[in-house]
């Protein structure tokens, strides 16, 4: 493996002087920075082996094989990670080629994850990349359980929220193996951000939901009756005219024929009202909510994310705590800071309680227990199984209260299994309480 040592010489030399002797993911949480000053040692074979082991043993999931995903795969592979997985549900489009450098014109239409994985494996010897052409929401727990680290390069708030909520939901502070850091990157034009989320330890994605700009939404009455902007005409075409003409066919924003139809009807409406500025490009931008994206910004943000992955796994330096904002529109400006956890965050700010009860306890008796228990004290809780999504007892509205009332007299054994998680809501709780109920033997 002489070639391998030479290949990663830079890496080992940069990492070596600061690294910790032996690292498990849990130690990373309490890692402290070592000074860059005590530098200069030449890596020994043992040191090199140690770093290599860390990087080889760490299985990383890259979420998204788009602009950030392509960069992330390259950066992680060249950082010495050898067991990479990539998941993406999309296929390659011509408009990806201005930044998604693992794809060629002849790849248009193929699954992004598959093409990206094959390219990296072919280019970087020794890197194994396993593609998953799938939706993140469709993967089972044992899929996610195999990874030590998740790096996201996504373009939708919805997918990020899901991934974040899932990883936070899996994290159990008593069991460090369940705490999987999520490194998240995002870009828009010349700007972007990189952050490190350590579930239940740092602020999570949901804590900062207010930071994100919402898609522009126009009032429906303006769209219907008093359009002023070209955008109003385009929205009219897609929200009102399209469903009128094709009641059984939703708009497919990737279908050029559909876009052409929307553009034509928006143009007609604009002309009728004397509004200027409806173009095909604008139509596309509005109906697809297109966010400008360029190669260089993706490169910056992905590199910052991969850099954090390297720091987290080898502990050569303290990882980012926990947010870096990058602005490239006026000179170069970054702001690095610790985004605080939100106490009432619906994802990471909610309490979790464990109760052990006799199996013959009825649901009504469990409610009494919740009201009396000094550390819970909930007077009017609504309960629902997180496992089966079954409503156990709901205080309101009246129809649901009546339908679930018969459960009150039933023993818990009829309603749930031991160790099941119950979602409890109550006016006194910011969002909910997760209650794990076990039956005493």
């Amino acid at each position: 493996m002489a070639l391998d040592s030479a290949k990663y010489q830079a890496l080992y030399r940069a990492i070596l002087p600061q690294r910790f002797p032996s690292i498990a993911m849990a130690d990373v949480l309490s890692a402290t920075e070592n000074s860059a000053a005590t530098d200069g040692a030449v890596p020994t074979a043992a040191d090199t082996d140690e770093i290599r082991r860390l990087l080889h043993d760490c299985k990383v999931l890259v979420v998204g094989a788009g602009g950030l995903g392509c960069e992330l795969l390259k950066d992680l592979a060249l950082s010495g990670f050898q067991d990479l997985h990539v998941i993406d549900m999309d296929t390659i489009d011509v408009s990806n080629l201005n930044r998604q450098f693992l794809f060629r014109l002849s790849d248009v239409g193929k699954p992004k994850a598959v093409v990206a994985a094959a390219f990296i494996e072919n280019r970087v010897q020794g890197a194994k990349v396993t593609p998953h052409y799938a939706k993140i929401q469709d993967m089972a727990d044992d899929f996610y359980a195999q990874f030590q680290l998740v790096v996201c390069g996504l373009d939708s708030v919805e997918a990020r929220r899901w991934m974040n909520a899932y990883l936070v939901g899996q994290a159990d502070l008593a069991n460090p193996d369940t705490i999987k850091p999520m490194i998240d990157g995002g870009t828009e034009g010349f700007n972007g951000q990189a952050r490190v989320i350590i579930p239940k330890i740092t602020s999570c994605y949901e804590c900062s939901l207010d930071l994100f700009k919402k898609q522009m939404v126009y009032p429906i009455c303006t769209i219907a009756n008093t359009p002023r902007l070209p955008e109003h005409c385009i929205e009219w075409a897609s929200v009102i005219a399209w469903p009128d003409h094709f009641p059984d066919q939703p708009v497919d924003t990737d279908n050029p024929k559909h876009l052409r139809w929307l553009y034509t009807s928006a143009s007609k409406r604009a002309e009728q009202f004397g509004i200027r500025g409806v173009t095909y490009t604008l139509t596309q931008g509005v109906v697809k909510n297109i966010i400008p994206a360029i190669a260089s910004t993706n490169a910056i943000i992905a590199a910052a994310c991969a850099n954090e992955a390297l720091k987290l796994v080898t502990s050569c330096h303290l990882h980012l705590d926990n947010y870096m904002m990058y602005t490239g529109t006026e000179g170069v400006y970054t702001y690095t800071y610790a985004y605080s956890r939100r106490a009432d965050c619906p994802v990471c700010g909610q309490e979790s309680k464990h109760l052990t009860v006799a199996p013959q306890l009825t649901l009504a008796e469990l409610l009494d227990l919740l009201a009396e228990s000094p550390d819970i004290q909930l007077a009017s809780p609504s309960l629902r199984s997180a496992h089966t999504n079954r409503s156990l007892y709901l205080q309101a509205p009246p129809q649901l209260e009546q339908r679930t009332r018969p459960n009150l007299s039933k023993p818990l054994t009829e309603l749930m299994e031991s160790g099941e998680e119950i979602i409890v809501t109550d006016r006194r709780l910011p969002i909910y309480l997760s209650l794990v109920v076990s039956f005493s033997p």
């Binding site: 070639l3 030479a6 290949k7 990663y8 830079a10 890496l11 030399r13 940069a14 000074s35 860059a36 000053a37 005590t38 530098d39 200069g40 960069e71 390259k74 950066d75 060249l78 950082s79 010495g80 011509v94 408009s95 201005n98 450098f101 280019r123 010897q125 034009g189 010349f190 990189a194 008093t226 002023r228 004397g274 490009t281 596309q284 297109i290 966010i291 400008p292 994206a293 360029i294 190669a295 260089s296 910004t297 993706n298 490169a299 910056i300 992905a302 590199a303 910052a304 850099n307 954090e308 330096h317 303290l318 980012l320 990058y326 490239g328 006026e330 000179g331 170069v332 400006y333 690095t336």
Partner: protein
């Protein structure tokens, strides 16, 4: 292949004319390092016109862990050719050329070839070779970007004698002229009855008209006062709030919300005035071959001179506001027509200037005149400093805080950086630190002399890691440099002025004007 489709996501930022400039540009990379290859990747993808790589090394095994654009099978082949080949695969519309020559001396041996490029990117250059290169580029007014990395640290220096911009994309607020409405706007506003009884009509009076109306009412009460204070604006705001009839009147809500912000005095920004005062504008007729930018700037200055209110041309766009379609379209047309009149006047100034300068009429395209008028408030010029003058300057820092990233800046200024593969000795470090201290003002150097460790450890670090590249830092710095090159080429957005440290340990960056 349809370029508008391929480049859709970037055309939404810099538009077709920015893309045209990018496609006309040629970039020269000196040394096919990982950082240099990353810069080019990020320029080839968006469709830069062409690139040249000057490099005389063979692909080494160490390149494989650093540079994505070389493969195991290519070890031993010429790096310039290998990287050029892989980069060209990314975009068939880009011209790529490999020149197998010593990149460090290329500025001396092939100055003409170098100067045929629009921009030069020099990576991991030793000081001794950087200075003559920088001097040549400065003299010929060609932009030079220096990109270095060492371990987890990166350094960027942009050297441009003069960079001119209209489209900075910075001032997004609309130019409404509420304090000095042009005659057509005045007449239009007067045609509304703000006290009308019809609830539909009352709820559809556009906020611009409401603001003009209540401003007038306020002025009638305070006939002697000319400039509005913050308190006055608040007063106008509450007058508007009091006139609301029901909570559905969004137009009044809009007017009240925007009162403080939009009732400002319209004037020419100071930075625009400064550009007007510059000799290239004032003494336009004295320059040998004036750039179109300066002709346009002079035309704008002449326009302001002539304007009864001493204002720049009107941008001509208005924000969306609650009103009916017809009223909005009329209002929009008023601003648009006034802007067109202004463009016409500026166009006359331009053609007069071109005649006086004895230049052909197509020297300044009409589209550029329009862009200049639309973005006149954002007009900006950055005057750079040369790397040579930076080297000779005494650097002063804040007495209290010699910040970490400033020390990293210093650590990238050593003479022996990137010069060899000898082990770094403490003598070398001490010598370098002494040289660096000589560049600093007394109080800073005293402070550092008392505690030399922070600086010496950083000098040691950059020297020790200077001969290798960490891919992540190469990709990060390569991304930033590509953003800067795009900004310089398209003359859109505002470039870095002029130095940046990228700190991969702390995940921070810091810029310095040196």
């Amino acid at each position: 292949m349809d370029k508008t489709q391929r480049y859709d996501r970037q055309l939404r930022l810099w538009k077709a004319h920015g893309q045209a400039r990018l496609e006309a540009a040629r970039v020269c990379l000196l040394q096919a390092t990982a950082v240099g290859s990353e810069v080019l990747k990020n320029l080839v993808l968006p469709g830069v016109g062409g690139f040249t790589i000057v490099d005389d090394q063979a692909v080494a095994p160490s390149d494989l862990g650093q540079n994505f654009f070389v493969t195991t099978q290519e070890v031993g082949q010429l790096r310039a050719r290998v990287v050029t080949r892989h980069l060209k695969e990314l975009n068939e519309d880009v011209q790529g050329q490999a020149v197998v020559e010593d990149p460090f001396t290329f500025a001396q041996t092939n100055a003409e070839a170098l100067l045929a490029h629009s921009i030069v990117v020099a990576t991991n250059f030793p000081c001794a070779h950087l200075l003559p290169l920088a001097a040549l580029c400065w003299e010929h007014r060609i932009a030079l970007v220096v990109a270095n990395t060492a371990g987890f640290m990166g350094y960027i220096r942009v050297q441009v004698p003069e960079h001119t911009m209209f489209e900075t994309h910075s001032n997004q607020s609309h130019d409404l002229r509420l304090d000095c409405p042009f005659p057509a706007l005045h007449t239009f506003a007067d045609s509304f009855n703000v006290d009308c009884q019809d609830s539909m009509a009352h709820g559809n009076i556009p906020s611009i008209v409401l603001l003009l109306h209540f401003l007038k009412r306020w002025r009638d009460k305070h006939p002697t006062q000319t400039a509005l204070t913050y308190k006055d604006k608040k007063e106008i705001k509450s007058m508007i709030e009091q006139a609301v009839r029901n909570p559905n009147e969004e137009n009044f809500e809009e007017a009240a919300q925007n009162a403080v912000q939009t009732l400002h005095k319209t004037e020419t920004p100071d930075q625009v005035k400064r550009v007007f005062e510059h000799r290239s504008c004032k003494n336009l007729h004295a320059s040998l071959n004036p750039a179109p930018f300066w002709i346009l700037t002079r035309a704008l200055a002449d326009f302001v001179q002539e304007d009864p209110n001493g204002l720049l041309p009107l941008a001509g766009s208005i924000p969306d506001m609650k009103t009916d379609t017809q009223t909005f379209v009329q209002l929009q047309a008023l601003y648009f027509e006034k802007a067109e009149e202004d463009v016409c006047k500026v166009r006359h100034h331009v053609s007069r200037l071109l005649t006086e300068l004895d230049l052909p009429p197509n020297t300044v395209p009409d589209d550029d005149i329009r862009l200049a008028c639309k973005n006149a408030v954002n007009l900006r010029v950055q005057w750079g400093t040369s790397i040579a003058s930076e080297r000779n300057k005494t650097l002063a820092t804040d007495d209290l805080a010699v910040e970490d990233n400033f020390l990293w800046y210093l650590a990238f200024q050593t003479h022996t950086l990137y010069t060899g593969r000898d082990p770094v000795t403490s003598e070398t470090v001490e010598h370098e630190v002494e040289q660096l201290l000589g560049k600093l003002d007394n109080s800073t150097s005293q402070q550092l002399r008392a505690h030399p460790e922070p600086l010496s450890s950083r000098v040691h670090y950059t020297l020790n890691h200077g001969d290798t590249e960490l891919h992540n830092l190469a990709a990060w710095v390569g991304g930033v440099v590509a953003q800067e090159v795009v900004k310089l080429i398209t003359h859109q957005y505002v470039p870095l002025a002029n130095t940046l440290v990228v700190n991969g340990v702390d995940s921070t960056t810091q810029s310095f004007s040196l």
